[in-house]
């Protein structure tokens, strides 16, 4: 499945300045693996040492927060968009 990954401004320098990266995958996890294969500098920004998504990162599959779709195991379809945005939070 061909998926477009939209990167927030703060991650673009780790992707050679790209704001959108086209990846292949059957799941969100697969899409992320292709993403970090293309741009290794992104790995540390997106995934923890144990391969889970960083808590401070929001990931949307089209209009849905993947937290509600099974996170990295959510299936992706051809032409889907994954939008990454840093969490906006504080105290």
């Amino acid at each position: 499945m061909s998926v477009a990954v939209r990167l927030p401004t703060v991650l673009r320098s780790s992707a050679g300045g790209a704001s959108t990266v086209t990846v292949e995958g059957e799941t969100v996890g697969g899409a992320f693996e292709d993403l970090v294969r293309q741009h290794p500098d992104l790995r540390a920004q997106l995934l923890t040492d144990t391969g889970e998504l960083h808590r401070h990162l929001n990931v949307f599959l089209n209009d849905d927060d993947i937290r509600y779709l099974g996170k990295l195991e959510a299936k992706v379809g051809d032409g889907d968009t994954l939008t990454l945005m840093p969490a906006v939070a504080g105290g």
Binding site: P8, T9, V10, H56, N58, F60, D63, D65, R67, T83, M85, P86, A87, V88, A89, G90, G91
Partner: protein, 139 residues
């Protein structure tokens, strides 16, 4: 360019200033938060959002509202440039949590303190853990 006491500035129309303060008063006694969109130093759109943490001590912009605001800003030819949130019983200054979790070094961070009878609004840049106050110009 020098703006009053500070080197940096955040410009906004009166409506946005009032909307931010009203949203924070509405959310009291919990922290309230919202997003600003515009270009660089000028806020032209404001999005009051839910505080997903629903807490008087911490805030988190509800992710789906973050996405919606980002898309709406893009539809208007602008981008997200900052976030505002309230401190219910402390000063209008970024807390250690605010500094540690600041999502974007290019953003403006507006703090609204409800500690006293009169809300206090201040704005800051947070870059690499360094906080710099900026002038807020309401037009």
């Amino acid at each position: 360019m020098h703006h009053g006491t500070f080197d940096a500035v955040l410009l906004m129309p009166t409506e946005i200033f009032e909307l931010m303060v009203a949203h924070c008063l509405d959310g009291y006694p919990l922290e309230a938060c919202g997003l600003l969109a515009g270009t660089a130093d000028r806020a032209t759109l404001a999005y009051p959002t839910a505080n997903a943490a629903a807490s008087s001590r911490v805030y988190a912009v509800e992710p789906r509202e973050l996405l919606r605001a980002d898309r709406d800003a893009e539809d208007h030819g602008v981008e997200l440039i900052g976030v505002w949130h309230s401190h219910t019983h402390t000063d209008a200054y970024p807390s250690p949590t605010d500094i540690a979790q600041a999502p974007d070094p290019a953003w403006h961070y507006v703090l609204i303190s409800l500690r006293d009878v009169e809300p206090v609004l201040r704005s800051y840049r947070v870059v690499d853990g360094t906080v710099t106050e900026e002038q807020v110009e309401v037009q």
